[in-house]
């Protein structure tokens, strides 16, 4: 059974159809990259998978781990193992990072019938992962993303991913806004988490990220549909020929 099976997904925002029949199968252990021009629907796809209310599904099915993902609330999807690293992480003044993350972990643990982590169990783990991502401990007590630089926010997303250990991590342009060192550090963080039980959907505009995080498959989303699929070489070809080429003669290479 595939970890994620998207079949003919249609979705709209504010009455506009954005996804127009997306099909995609992701097995545990795989890394899929999704590329595509601005406005083609990449973030919309991630929002639908993370179950954001404003994004209405108007057709198709999505199975996650064999369960109907479209029936789930955002919190259920999160507890089942879907994680979205936001393209634009949200600032939440007044809520401390450490408190926020420990509560999130405990919500997920509770869902699985596990005991809650107290601060004593949580803190060493948190500090260790922060170190891995070369984040200063002072971020711990600051409000979630408040006043963080663009790159700091992205790192904080990956830190949360590292703590929550999802089954499916969707990284929506995590590389944008990262400096060269941060790109390397964040990629290392992601690579350290690759494993046979976990899959990644890596949304990016830049082949450069894929030098660090080597995908198994690359898909090109154009106007709400997957126009092309292929191996890592597709990203190189795209970089060379541009999206026009991907749109022009789309052979629909997706092996369903």
């Amino acid at each position: 059974m595939a970890l994620l099976e998207i079949h003919d997904l249609h979705a709209s925002v504010e009455g506009h159809e954005i996804l127009k029949g997306v099909s995609l199968t992701v097995n545990a252990g795989e890394v899929h990259s999704i590329m595509g021009p601005n406005g083609s629907g990449k973030s919309t796809l991630s929002a639908v998978l993370a179950r954001r209310d404003a994004y209405k599904v108007t057709g198709g099915t999505v199975l996650f781990n064999g369960k109907d993902l479209l029936e789930m609330d955002p919190e259920e999807a999160a507890c089942e193992g879907v994680f979205l690293a936001f393209q634009y992480p949200v600032e939440i003044p007044g809520i401390g990072n450490a408190y926020f993350l420990r509560s999130a972990m405990n919500a997920i643990r509770k869902h699985h019938g596990e005991d809650e982590l107290d601060a004593m169990d949580f803190l060493p783990l948190y500090k260790e992962r922060m170190k891995l991502l070369e984040m200063d401990e002072k971020f711990m007590n600051r409000s979630v993303n408040e006043g963080f630089s663009g790159g700091e926010k992205k790192r904080n997303e990956i830190l949360q991913m590292a703590m929550l250990e999802p089954k499916l991590a969707i990284l929506d342009e995590t590389d944008s806004g990262l400096d060269i060192d941060a790109l390397r550090i964040v990629s290392q963080g992601v690579n350290a988490m690759r494993g046979k039980d976990r899959a990644f959907l890596v949304i990016t505009h830049y082949q450069r990220l894929l030098n660090y995080i080597k995908p198994d498959y690359v898909h090109v989303l154009v106007d709400g549909k997957i126009a092309r699929s292929g191996g890592p070489e597709l990203a190189l070809e795209l970089e060379e020929k541009g999206y026009g080429w991907a749109e022009a003669d789309a052979p629909q290479a997706q092996p369903a």
Binding site: E17, E75, A78, P93, G94
Partner: protein, 470 residues
């Protein structure tokens, strides 16, 4: 001009009883004060919504209820029932039942030197016997304005007791003083009067706490005068947590001398119709005032939602003073909030620095807020800013939290708490802050639980479904 309706007769009865009781006991100046108060109240009656200061608050329900004066000893409040109203970490607690001091229920602890705490009536009786009553005549009724405000006039005519605090020059209290005003019984009106005199260089915190025993309607009409001497550092907390059948009008009048620093915190969680008047006068150079508040209103079992009207009048009378107003409102169901923030800068008050911010969260389509800044500036070299926002819980924040596993209820609760915590963060007195925090948490949890039970309040779910089919 609502003079002698049958309802107002109850107030006349109360006035006559209070006068009879004070006859031969109260000093002449006090009798005069009461007479003046009564004259003003009986001439004007309760204000109507035509009165600009009462535009958003309709007092018809208050005016037509026959609130009466409690009979002596009518309610015996058992000590056990008051146990849950103790506040940890306070220096002492004075308990008033229906406006009368209850020494057997109070805990005067071991008061530090340089602090005088007793009931105002005791202090005045004491004065009659010639033992250290100093200051009362110079301060009582000197600040609160009976001409402007009929509630102050009514309180002045009818008060029976309240707290009297005097902190001596240079004395710093380490723990706050807790004044617990309890309403109990049906349709009882009380008029607590508090006088706080902080001498030069003194430091103290006072919590004024209004609660009800039982669910019957009460009317509390409180007036507090706080005189802060030079360089005094004072924090005042008002906690309104009476039942939602009750009316509460409170007036805090602060007089600040040179470089006095006063923080006021209003925490309005209970009450049905609440009017919170805060009126600092910065009357000495370099005085600073923080006017901080949180009001949380929701529906009621019967009738309309809670109504919370905050009327700020910040007067800058001398140069180089600063005032900071921060009020946050959370309104659910069909609650109605009002924030009227008036700043008056007198012509000599150059270099005034006044700031006002009112932020509101509306949790339902029926909740309502009226927010009105009013700046009157007669000096030319001043800095005055004001701003108000009205919003809903931010959908993207809600989604962010839910995408990390928080339930909708927990996410809402957390965001509400973060909003409320802006006010908590401005409280510097640890015991009072902790107390306020626990009350606010409890109130917000009630709100979220109620929203969950009735399925209301979740903004994004009540939105029309914009899905396009086919």
């Amino acid at each position: 001009m609502a003079t002698t309706t049958p309802r107002l007769e109850k107030y006349l009865e109360a006035y006559e009883a209070v006068r009879a009781q004070g006859h031969d006991r109260e000093p002449v100046w006090l009798e005069q004060l009461r007479e003046d108060g009564w004259a003003r109240f009986s001439a004007k009656g309760f204000p109507s919504t035509h009165d600009e200061d009462w535009r958003f608050t309709n007092l018809a329900a208050l005016a037509k209820t026959a609130f009466r004066r409690a009979a002596q000893g009518e309610i015996a409040a058992p000590a056990e029932q008051l146990e849950r109203y103790r506040v940890a970490g306070t220096a002492c607690q004075l308990v008033f039942i229906n406006g009368r001091f209850a020494p057997q229920l109070s805990d005067l602890g071991s008061l530090p030197d340089g602090l005088l705490v007793c009931s105002l009536k005791q202090a005045i009786d004491c004065g009659r016997e010639g033992c250290a009553p100093e200051g009362i005549e110079q301060h009582l009724g000197r600040y609160a304005n009976m001409d402007r405000d009929v509630f102050t006039a009514l309180n002045t005519a009818l008060w029976e007791d309240g707290a009297y605090l005097r902190v001596r020059r240079g004395v710093a209290l380490e723990q706050p003083i807790h004044l617990l005003y309890v309403s109990a019984g049906a349709q009882i009106a009380t008029h607590p009067r508090t006088l706080i005199i902080a001498e030069n260089g003194s430091q103290a915190s006072v919590i004024e706490d209004y609660v009800s025993l039982g669910s019957e309607a009460a009317f509390s009409n409180a007036v507090t005068e706080l005189a802060a001497g030079e360089e005094a550092v004072i924090a005042h907390f008002l906690v309104e947590r009476e039942n939602t059948a009750s009316f509460n009008v409170s007036t805090l009048r602060i007089e600040q001398s040179r470089s006095a620093q006063v923080d006021t915190h209003s925490i309005l969680l209970g009450g049905g119709l609440v009017r919170n008047n805060v009126h600092p006068v910065l009357n000495g150079e370099g005085a600073e005032c923080l006017i901080n508040g949180l009001f949380v209103g929701a529906g009621r079992q019967q009738g309309a939602g809670q109504h919370m009207d905050n009327y700020m009048l910040v007067e800058h009378a001398q140069p180089h003073c600063s005032s900071r107003q921060f009020y946050n409102g959370i309104l659910a169901d069909n609650a109605h909030g009002v924030f009227h923030g008036r700043i008056v800068v007198h012509k000599d008050a150059q270099k005034t620095d006044a700031k006002q911010t009112n932020r509101n969260l509306l949790l339902s389509d029926h909740a309502r807020i009226d927010t009105k800044p009013q700046l009157e500036i007669y000096a030319d070299d001043v800095k005055c800013t004001h701003g108000a926002t009205i919003g809903q819980i931010d959908e993207s924040q809600l989604f962010y939290l839910r995408s990390r596993g928080f339930t909708l209820a927990d996410a809402r609760n957390l965001l509400l708490y973060a909003f409320a915590a802006e006010c908590l963060d401005r409280m510097r007195e640890p015991a009072a802050r902790e107390f306020a925090e626990a009350l606010i948490r409890e109130r917000l949890e009630e709100l979220t639980a109620a929203a969950k039970a009735t399925g209301t309040g979740a903004q994004e779910e009540s939105e029309p479904n914009r899905e396009e089919l086919g």
